[in-house]
Symmetry: C2
Subunit: 313 residues, 2 copies
Amino acid sequence: MNNSKPVRPELRERVMKVVEETGFQPNAVARSLVNKETRIIGVMIPDISNNFYSNLIYGIDSVISEYDYSLFLAISDEVVEKELKFLRLFKEKQLDGVIMASIHFLEGHFQQLQEIQVPLVVTGHDLPGYNIPTVNINNVQASYDATAYLIAQGHQKIACISGPLWDPPCGLDRLGGYRKAMRAHGLDIHDGFMQEGEFTAKSGYEAMRKIWEESIRPTAVFVATDLMAVGVLNFLHDQGVRVPEDVSVMGFDDLEMASLTRPMLSTVHNDPYMYGRAAAEQILKQLRNEPVERMSIVPHDLVIRQSVCVIGK
Amino acid sequence: MNNSKPVRPELRERVMKVVEETGFQPNAVARSLVNKETRIIGVMIPDISNNFYSNLIYGIDSVISEYDYSLFLAISDEVVEKELKFLRLFKEKQLDGVIMASIHFLEGHFQQLQEIQVPLVVTGHDLPGYNIPTVNINNVQASYDATAYLIAQGHQKIACISGPLWDPPCGLDRLGGYRKAMRAHGLDIHDGFMQEGEFTAKSGYEAMRKIWEESIRPTAVFVATDLMAVGVLNFLHDQGVRVPEDVSVMGFDDLEMASLTRPMLSTVHNDPYMYGRAAAEQILKQLRNEPVERMSIVPHDLVIRQSVCVIGK
DNA sequence: ATGAAAGCGCTAACAA
DNA sequence: TTGTTAGCGCTTTCAT
């Protein structure tokens, strides 16, 4: 008996003794079948080897484990069929809720979601027009702030290495914030100062090479992800260009490695752990039938280290 | 019907139509209850934000997902009570198998394991004297090889920053390999040349400071983890000491960041992804009642980059 | 306060 | 080949 009813102490003891003797172990599967509750949350991410997602998971786990929920992990590798398959699997396994991180939504996803009817929170993407709770940073604003900071340090010739354009958050939004800031301050963007990277350090390295081959050279670069920024730092290092004296570099994400580079990288603090916590809280609210916010914005801030310097007029 | 019996096509179609119409979704919980199989593997790790473990998970997932198993994740934070709790939970949830990574085993663990009787594989620790399948690198041999490599480059005054001594793999074993190599080559170890770090970059930084304050200075340092090695690199950088010209540095783990530092870190390649794959294969073997190896050693190799140089006599 | 019985959704064994 | 039934281990309801 799980304290669901009053029991005479005598009987209780007798039961406990038998439990001890027979080595009784409760079976959560049977319990789930009748309770219609597994106390398991499904989490779908594109890539576990990416530190961002592992910290997201850490955040999620840190709150759900408080409430005796556990974590079922699905790694989609960005393969649409797997994503759809996992969604079905989540339903079959009767998971109580689902958190999807940075999944590129297509028509099929919405359809599948419609069918399975499971409490859901999406993080890393905005879903304008859909009634699905999301948790995200304001990428446009954060990039705007980063660029504006560069401008405030006196920079005018500022380049930008964005994520791939098919990725709304790192491609579109972060590039958008940069452009918006440049425009707002009446600054021109030189042709070739906007390069598209592909998330890897190597792609940052190459993108910076392209920028460096332009007729005009920037005095500062805003890079949409830290990993690419490390590539930029390395390119500059290999060229014998000093950072920040010759070129300032501003990253985005504040990965662990951002404070381990020399010079240490100034960047936008983007806290996947907090995303995870926020997403988990939204899911838990749904499970308790409490009202949930349609979109939660997690705050960002600039972390100023060594890779940006003030420039004279 | 799941193709378990021959069915007349006509009936099959009729059933399929109803399935379509009613939007039938199978319930894996009920199925698990009767089949006594959940097709879920539990994975227990101390820390998900550590890139090592996320890649381990990636490796595990890459093989189990092939066989339609999924992943239940338990993050223990190195808290013994949580570890024990998760073990019980694994049993309650009737997971088909369990992989435990780098869990420091105590008496209670073996006892709990005894009670729950679940297919198990342990990785990251050797369990001499217990009949539990393990998957691990040969830490002693790998450290020996790394140190021997330093010696082969002409170094004789070699320091070592090990992991904490309470951690057998990174503390005892890796330090042991270093000492063994020094002894085998008839080299003395100066007092104060063996420092104990605590896994973090900062602790590597501090450990290197202590070594640097010794009366004699080493020409090379073997650091038991890359993260600490980055701390060492940074200390040396901050002191204006050139690597590798003044001091050579050898790491261990081959984290992603090892190839992103300047100079790029020479290190021992330690592939958590392969650990994961190997561990998963051992678990799968158990589930198929195939014989399993008592301990599988995953091979290591030296990756030579820029942080070690040849030294003259 | 305690015991007995029904039923969660499925599969396997049986009968038709 | 098809339909029926028992039972997996639990919780809940209903008698006792």
